[in-house]
């Protein structure tokens, strides 16, 4: 019995290792080539010149700036809109509530490309009517569209789990409705609001398809820039960019993970 367990253990480890190789090999290759002196896939010696060129590339830097601004604004507005929505939706009952919640999930379940083209149709129509062109604002609106459902999904369970008499208690002790919300209720919803914000932020950073259809002629974000770079001419700058993005992701993930572990520990101590 023990022997087979051991054998299974080794097989399991090999299997996991193979999957990890499959997941990380492509990224490792990109990072490897980002230090290559030459342009092709033949190794010609170590160099940091692609990193240097990357930082000098105004297009990329501009796109990076846009991506971050959009992600910050979209996740911020989506969080406010979504948290308020979750509180309101929670007070609907029965069929009405199911209907609103399902409607809210449409952007999550419908294919990105359909959402992209449908928003493009709307913005073209409105653009003709009110005489504006697609660009920063339309991209921002579109990003808010697909971010809000994630906030609602994250905040809703928190509201349901919250002891509603905590809100009554705040009123009882002299808060008006608004004070009761920001002095008490928001603290209870914070973990949900935070994960909603984080999800919105990362989805916005990563989005290509919806931006692609709603950006108009001029607006560039990182995904669009990467798209045009990989389509036009293959430049090893993109390898350098990948390496840096990977590093950023790695750092963020480690921070989140440490935070979660810390929270779990606190929870474990409480019980």
């Amino acid at each position: 019995m023990k022997k087979t367990n051991k054998k299974n253990g080794i097989l399991s480890k090999i299997y996991i290792a193979l999957i990890m190789i499959f997941l990380y090999a492509p990224i490792a290759v990109l990072i490897f080539y980002s230090f290559n002196k030459g342009k092709s896939t033949v190794w010609q010696g170590f160099s940091l010149k692609w990193y240097e060129q990357l930082f000098k590339d105004d297009n990329i830097m501009n796109a990076l700036g846009n991506t971050i601004i959009i992600a910050v604004l979209a996740s911020f507005f989506a969080t406010i809109l979504g948290t308020a929505a979750a509180i309101g939706i929670n007070n609907f009952k029965g069929k009405k509530r199911v209907l609103i919640q399902n409607a809210s999930n449409i952007p999550i379940i419908s294919p990105d490309i359909v959402m992209g083209v449908s928003l493009m149709l709307l913005f073209t129509f409105l653009g003709v009517m009110f005489n504006f062109e697609m660009g920063f604002v339309t991209v921002l609106i579109s990003h808010i569209c697909f971010c809000v459902p994630f906030v609602v999904l994250n905040v809703m369970p928190r509201i349901r789990r919250m002891d509603s008499s905590i809100y009554d208690a705040a009123l009882d002790l002299g808060c008006n409705q608004w004070q009761a919300f920001y002095k008490v209720v928001i603290h209870e919803l914070m973990p949900g609001i935070f994960s909603g914000l984080l999800m919105s932020f990362t989805y916005s950073l990563d989005d290509f398809i919806i931006t692609y259809f709603t950006r108009g002629a001029k607006f560039q974000n990182l995904s669009i820039e990467i798209y045009s770079m990989t389509h036009r001419r293959i430049s090893p700058k993109i390898n350098a960019l990948s390496a840096l993005l990977f590093l950023a992701v790695l750092i963020i993930m480690i921070i989140i993970n440490l935070r979660e572990r810390h929270e779990e520990k606190v929870k474990a101590q409480k019980t």
């Binding site: 299997y15 290759v29 449409i106 928003l119 990563d206 995904s223 798209y227 990948s242």
Partner: protein, 263 residues
């Protein structure tokens, strides 16, 4: 806290930016360029039946491979120590947070002529082209969406009560029987949501095939992308068909999910 009012801004928002655009797709799909009612867009869309079928085929194969790879993986992960489980899951997630395009681009780099794989295999005397075919597209899809299959299955499996497994063993089940009678039926909801989460995006994506596929690997997403800029009516018709198909698929999956949950 007791009022429905806070949801009003979002409900208005949904109507303007979710409902109306979908209605516009429907409207555009049934009109011609001059705005008159017409079924021509659907007639045009019919022309792409082959592409549609191929897209579904690629998505189906990709989903099946993801399931085959992910199921044992999820099972293995649940058998690990708790802290190791978290680490492995985190390692699965990290590539997912990398930019979508960069991940496909990485495979282009790996598979291209004179790329690392080509060079390596050339040394062994194997010469072939690894990019520009259906296999490469499927590979790209599996790479993109594998974590979406692993996570839901893992989540469901890790919630299976340990006591239940012990009870089954106690009643004389061997490990195979425990798996067949306890773990497998209880993991079905995770499998269902995994299938949904992989199939829907892989059926509708439009970049993987552009980067990794050949000329005949063009997918429905690529068609929408190509057509929409010039012929919004036909583009809308195809989008509408895709959306209806996806919704029917989701409803079916939901239905099976419920059935399994009852059984």
């Amino acid at each position: 806290m007791k009022s429905r009012k806070p949801s009003i801004p979002y409900i208005i928002w949904m109507v303007i930016f979710t409902m109306i655009p979908i209605i516009m797709i429907g409207y555009t799909a049934f009109t011609d360029k001059n705005g008159n009612f017409s079924l021509e867009p659907f007639a045009n869309a019919f022309f792409y039946t082959g592409v549609f079928m191929k897209s579904l085929w690629i998505a189906l194969i990709s989903t099946a491979i993801c399931l085959l790879l992910a199921y044992p993986l999820a099972y293995i992960i649940t058998k690990m120590r708790h802290s190791t489980q978290n680490t492995v899951i985190m390692l699965m997630m990290i590539p997912m947070w990398m930019n979508f395009l960069l991940r496909i681009y990485a495979w282009v780099t790996l598979l291209q002529d004179n790329g690392p794989i080509d060079m390596l295999l050339s040394m062994l005397g194997i010469h072939a082209t690894y990019i520009g075919n259906t296999g490469a597209v499927v590979l790209g899809m599996v790479y993109e969406y594998l974590p979406f299959m692993v996570l839901p299955i893992y989540t469901v499996m890790s919630k299976i009560d340990g006591g239940l497994i012990e009870a089954a063993q106690d009643l004389g089940s061997n490990s195979l029987a425990v798996f067949r009678k306890v773990i497998f039926p209880l993991s079905i909801p995770g499998v269902i949501s995994g299938i949904t989460m992989v199939f829907v995006p892989s059926a509708s994506t439009f970049l993987v095939s552009q980067y990794l596929g050949g000329t005949d690997d063009i997918m429905i997403g690529d068609i929408i992308d190509k057509i929409f800029w010039t012929d919004q009516n036909t583009g809308s018709a195809i989008s509408l068909i895709l959306m209806v198909f996806i919704f029917v698929f989701l409803i079916l999956m939901n239905f099976f999910g419920d059935e399994e949950a009852i059984a």
